[in-house]
């Protein structure tokens, strides 16, 4: 029950941050900050994959309605959710995942988090830009936008990992 309230609040927080803060930042050079995948990332390890995809779809489509992307965010988040169990499985520690931990940098360590989240994040963003630009002739633009966006989003997400998900360790 406590979890449901926490994650609903996080859902709202991520939505507001993306729509009203990060979508408004004009960084230039094709860089956009995407933080929505982080929400899907930090859901508990035993979250059902159907639930993950449905949540990704819901969060994505609500953000799309507010940023004139018409379903692109939803599509890339559904892909993220679909790939998450597969990537988690291939980076499983020898003793398996501790059900008391959540998939954040502070619980699982930076090495694990960077690799797993990196793979998922880059593939979902690549999907996003390929659909948005959708022209083979503009493949360089896809790569530039992908590179710049991953760079700035990584900074934003790392900061959030330092400040907001560090509490467990202190306890």
């Amino acid at each position: 029950m406590k979890n449901i309230i926490t994650y609903s609040a996080l859902f709202g927080l991520f939505f507001c941050l993306q729509v009203f803060v990060f979508n408004r930042l004009e960084i230039g050079f094709g860089a956009q900050i995407f933080i929505l995948p982080l929400f899907l990332m930090i859901l508990p390890f035993d979250t059902n994959v159907f639930g993950l995809m449905a949540l990704g779809f819901l969060l994505g489509i609500s953000v799309d309605a507010f940023s004139n992307t018409f379903g692109l965010n939803a599509s890339s988040l559904v892909l993220f959710a679909y790939l998450r169990p597969i990537v988690f499985e291939s980076f499983r520690p020898r003793e398996g995942y501790d059900p008391l931990k959540i998939p954040t940098a502070s619980d699982m360590g930076w090495d694990w988090f960077l690799v797993v989240f990196g793979i998922l994040f880059v593939s979902s963003l690549l999907w996003y830009f390929v659909w948005e630009i959708f022209r083979f002739a503009e493949i360089l633009l896809v790569l530039r936008n992908l590179f710049m966006s991953v760079l700035v989003s990584a900074v934003a997400i790392s900061i959030s990992q330092f400040f907001f998900f560090n509490e467990r360790k202190k306890k």
């Binding site: 004009e26 779809f57 940023s67 004139n68 599509s75």
Partner: protein, 278 residues
Amino acid sequence: MQNLFAFLRRFRVFIFFTALQFICLFFYVQFVAYPKSVFLSTASGVNGRIQKWEGSLTNHFFLEENNRKLRLENAQLRKRVFVNFYKHDRPTHRIKDTLYEQEYSFIPAEIIHSSSARRNNYFTINIGEIQGIKKNMAVISPNGVVGIVFKVGKHFSLVKSVLTQDINLDVIVGKDGPHGLLKWDGYNPRIGIVTGVSSDLNIKKNKAIYTLGASGIFPKGLKVGTIVSKSRVEDQALWKIEVLFSEDYRTLQSVYVVNSLLQKELHSLQLEIPEELE
């Protein structure tokens, strides 16, 4: 039958994934290619109101710049107002002027949501069907072209900005130079590309680019930008001309929607052109 169920059970995750992807991409393609309604966009009723409220908070950051622009435009318009002219002849009777007929009327609007970092950027403006906005009307600003109305809601409309993939605006180099097509390559929101100008023509830097107005959507002679550089297109005898937009789309707030009063006549005339000639 059992095999079918076994198959469905085995691939249920993938089937659910495909179904969701289908919905998302169906929405996306439908919106980009055949826009029907403003549902799920910033021009929908509820959403538009939220954006408007949010815009009223953030508009203040650019207030000074926008005031300056509007003052400048006012000053220029004031020069043309007839009250400021001394009249030499005093006619004793009134004549109905049939020499001039108004071709365009302008409806002022405020931008309540915009983006410039994406490949296809849209603006939401605070007027819609009620104010007589229709699809494919031109949108301009005091400094140049802005875009074309893409979708109309009841109170809000969505404008496809110049910063999109397939804007293809017909432009002219200088006041009477060669014609070309304005495109945007997605790299820099300040720089546009003009193609279709033959490379045997001498194109000078810093020359202004204006709208051609061939389709009757945009008035003729609106400034688009100035030429910053040119290069040859590979394998083709054409210039690729880079244009610095005269309007900075990142800070734009007030625009005008252009109602082309003769558009219908022009369009019906152009329909009569036999297809093989086009």
